[in-house]
C-alpha cells in the first residue's frame, strides 16, 4: 500500500516536471519550425526614440512595415495579414487584409489606428543582445533584420544586419573601418567601427 503511494507520488512528480518541459517546448517548437522552414526576408527598420530603443538587454525594433498607410476597416487588436513584396534588398508592404492573401505574407496585430495610418506589431519587435552591446545598434546608420516567415505568416528573427553587415557584439573597437567615417557616440566614448565582412546569404546561420 505504502509502496503504491510512493510510486504514485513519484509518477505525479515526474508528470509535473514533464509538463514544465512540455511548456518550454510550446515556445521552442513553433519558433524552430518557422526558422527551419520559413522563407527568409530582410526588413528595413526605422529609427525609434533613442531613449526607448535600447532597454536592458534587448533592442526595440520598428520596421517600415510597422506603419501601414491607406488601409481602413481595421480595429485595434484585430488580426492583420500583410502581403510582402521584394523591393531591392528589402521587403515591403504589398497588401493588408483580414484574411491571408496569396504569396508571402506576415501575420500581425493592429495596435493603434491614426487618421491616415495603422500601427501593426508582428511579434518580431525585440532582439536580445549581449549585455552592453546595444549601443552598437543604437549608433548605427542602418539596421536591417533577417526574418524567417513560415507558410502561416508566423515570423521569427534570424539576425541583424548593422550597416550592411551581420551584427557582431564583440567586434574590435580599434580596427579601422573600410569606409573612413567613424560613428561618434553622443557620450564621446571611442568611435565605434566595424570590420568589413561579407554580406550574408539567405542561408546564413542564425546568430542566436
Amino acid at each position: 500500500m505504502m509502496e503504491n503511494r510512493t510510486t504514485l507520488f513519484r509518477l505525479a512528480f515526474l508528470a509535473v516536471v514533464a509538463l514544465q518541459v512540455a511548456l518550454l517546448l510550446v515556445i521552442i517548437v513553433p519558433k524552430e519550425r518557422t526558422l527551419a522552414t520559413g522563407e527568409e526576408v530582410v526588413l528595413q527598420t526605422v529609427p525609434v526614440d533613442p531613449r526607448d530603443l535600447f532597454r536592458g538587454d534587448y533592442v526595440n525594433l520598428r520596421y517600415t512595415i510597422s506603419t501601414l498607410r491607406g488601409y481602413a476597416g481595421f480595429a485595434v487588436g484585430d488580426r492583420i495579414y500583410v502581403g510582402l513584396m521584394q523591393q531591392g534588398d528589402v521587403w515591403d508592404v504589398r497588401s493588408a487584409s483580414q484574411s491571408p492573401p496569396d504569396g508571402l505574407y506576415i501575420k500581425g496585430r493592429v495596435t493603434e489606428i491614426r487618421p491616415d495610418s495603422l500601427d501593426v506589431e508582428y511579434g518580431i519587435e525585440s532582439y536580445f543582445v549581449p549585455e552592453g552591446s546595444g549601443s552598437i545598434i543604437e549608433n548605427a546608420d542602418d539596421v536591417k533584420v533577417r526574418v524567417a516567415i513560415d507558410s502561416s505568416g508566423n515570423a521569427a528573427v534570424k539576425g541583424l544586419l548593422v550597416d550592411g553587415e551581420p551584427f557582431k557584439p564583440n567586434q574590435p573597437e580599434e580596427t579601422p573601418k573600410a569606409a573612413p567615417t567613424p560613428v561618434v557616440t553622443p557620450d564621446a566614448s571611442p568611435p565605434l567601427v566595424t570590420t568589413p565582412e561579407p554580406v550574408p546569404t539567405p542561408a546564413a546561420t542564425p546568430t542566436n
Binding site: V21, L24, I27, K31, G56, F128, P130, E131, P169
Partner: protein, 414 residues
C-alpha cells in the same frame, strides 16, 4: 520517557502520559506550534533538553536553505540573461542546458528530500527548481527573441509550478504561483489596455483587477484552511490576498490617478470585462464554499466575506464608471482603506493572527507617510486632517477600552 530530565516534584506518569497526548492534540488543533510543543515536552522531561535546539536548528536550516536557493536562482538567471559573449553557445545547446538544469534541480531536490532525508534542503532545491523553471521560460523566450512583456510567458510559468505546489504541499511554491498569476493577469490587462493609449486608465483598470484578485486569493485561503489536506497552504494565499486588496485600495487613493481631464476614456474591452467577471464569480464561489466548510464555526468569516465582496463590487464600479472629480474619489478610497485597515486589525485580534495585525500596522505607516506628501494641502489643512484622523482613532481606542473593561467586570462578576 527521560526521567532524569524531569523537574523536581515531577508529576505522575498518568499525568505525563495524558500531557503528551494533549500536547499532540493541541498541536494538531493549532493551539500551539511545534516550538511550544517541544518546549512543554522538554519542561516535563518527555523530550531531551536538546529537542528545542533541534527545532530551532531545523528552522534556521530551512530559512537559510530558502535564502540560499533564491540567491543561487537569481545568480543563474542573471548569468544567462546577461547573454555574454564568453558564454555564447549554439542555440540548441543553450536550450538543452536550460532544460537540463531545470530537470536536474527537481531531481536533486527529490533525492535530497525523499532518498537522503534532507527535507529542508531538498524543499529549498525544489523551490529553486520552480524559480529556475520561470527563468527558463524567459530565457528560452530570449533565445527566440519573444517579446519580454509577453504575458503568456508568465502563464506558462504559473501552469508549470502550481501543480507542484499542491503535489508537494509547498507554501513557498504556492506563494510563487500566486504572485506569478497576479503578475501575468496584470500584464495581460495592461497589454490589452495599451491599445487604448491611456496610461492612467490602464493603471486604474489594472488596480481594479487586483481589487478583485486580492479578495479571490483571500477567499481561496479560507477554503484551503477549511480543507484538512490543504490547511498548511492557506497562509500564502491569505497574506498575498490581504496585501493585494489593501494595495489596490492604496493605489486608487492617489489624487493624480483620476485627473483625466486631458484623457479620452476608452471603453472597457470585452476581454477585460470577461476577465473581471470570471475572477469575481470565482471569488463568490470560493467564499460560498468556505461558508459551507466553516458552517459550524463561522467566526469572523461573514464579516471578512462581506468586506471582500464589497471590494470586488467597488473594483468593478471603479473600472467601469468614469470618475469626473479626482479629489473626492481619492478621498473615498483613502477612507475605505483606513476602514479596511481597522477591520484587518479587528480580524487579527479576533483570530489571534499576528500576520493580520502586522500587515495592517505596516500598511497604516505607509499610508500616513505617502498621503502626507501626496496631498497638496496647505500645512494648516494637513494639520487639521491629521488632528481629525488622530482624534477619531483615539476615540475608537477609548470605546474599545471601555468595552473591554465592561467585559472584564462581567467576567469577574460571573
Amino acid at each position: 520517557m527521560d526521567s532524569e530530565n524531569r523537574p523536581q516534584d515531577s508529576p505522575g506518569d498518568d499525568f505525563l502520559g495524558r500531557l503528551q497526548a494533549e500536547v499532540e492534540r493541541w498541536q494538531q488543533e493549532r493551539l500551539i506550534g511545534a516550538r511550544q510543543a517541544a518546549a512543554i515536552l522538554c519542561h516535563y522531561g518527555l523530550r531531551p533538553p536538546t529537542a528545542v535546539r533541534v527545532w530551532r536548528l531545523g528552522r534556521l536550516a530551512s530559512i537559510l536553505a530558502v535564502v540560499g536557493a533564491i540567491l543561487v536562482g537569481v545568480g543563474i538567471i542573471l548569468l544567462i540573461a546577461s547573454n555574454r559573449q564568453e558564454f555564447d553557445l549554439p542555440r540548441g545547446l543553450k536550450v538543452a542546458l536550460i532544460m537540463g538544469t531545470t530537470v536536474f534541480l527537481y531531481a536533486l531536490g527529490y533525492v535530497l528530500k525523499y532518498e537522503l532525508r534532507f527535507p529542508r534542503v531538498g524543499d529549498a532545491i525544489t523551490f529553486l527548481g520552480a524559480i529556475f523553471y520561470g527563468a527558463a521560460v524567459f530565457l528560452v523566450g530570449q533565445i527566440y527573441n519573444v517579446q519580454p512583456d509577453e504575458p503568456r510567458l508568465l502563464l506558462y510559468w504559473f501552469v508549470g509550478v502550481v501543480p507542484l505546489a499542491y503535489l508537494l504541499r509547498s507554501s513557498p511554491i504556492l506563494a510563487l504561483s500566486a504572485l506569478v498569476a497576479a503578475a501575468g493577469l496584470g500584464m495581460q490587462a495592461a497589454v490589452w489596455m495599451e491599445y487604448s493609449g491611456s496610461e492612467q486608465v490602464t493603471a486604474i483598470r489594472v488596480l481594479s483587477l487586483y481589487g478583485i484578485l486580492g479578495p479571490l486569493y483571500y477567499g481561496l485561503a479560507w477554503l484551503h484552511e477549511g480543507l484538512p489536506p490543504l490547511r498548511d497552504l492557506h497562509r500564502p494565499l491569505q497574506v498575498i490576498g490581504l496585501v493585494m486588496s489593501l494595495a489596490a485600495l492604496f493605489g486608487l487613493g492617489f489624487t493624480g490617478l483620476f485627473d483625466l481631464t486631458d484623457e479620452s476614456i476608452p471603453d472597457m474591452l470585452g476581454r477585460l470585462v470577461l476577465t473581471y467577471s470570471l475572477l469575481s464569480a470565482a471569488t463568490v464561489v470560493s467564499f460560498g464554499a468556505a461558508f459551507y466548510l466553516w458552517r459550524r464555526s463561522l467566526a469572523s468569516l461573514p464579516y471578512e466575506a462581506v468586506a471582500a465582496l464589497a471590494l470586488v463590487a467597488l473594483a468593478f464600479v471603479t473600472a467601469y464608471v468614469p470618475i469626473e472629480k479626482p479629489e473626492p474619489a481619492a478621498a473615498l478610497y483613502n477612507i475605505l482603506l483606513a476602514a479596511a485597515l481597522l477591520g484587518t486589525v479587528a480580524v487579527g485580534v479576533a483570530r489571534d493572527s499576528e500576520a493580520h495585525i502586522n500587515i495592517a500596522l505596516g500598511s497604516f505607516a505607509i499610508l500616513v507617510l505617502t498621503r502626507y506628501f501626496d496631498w497638496a494641502l496647505d500645512l494648516f489643512d494637513r494639520s487639521l486632517f491629521f488632528l481629525g484622523a488622530g482624534a477619531l482613532v483615539l476615540a475608537v481606542a477609548f470605546l474599545l477600552e471601555s468595552y473591554r473593561r465592561r467585559l472584564l467586570r462581567q467576567v469577574r462578576g460571573g
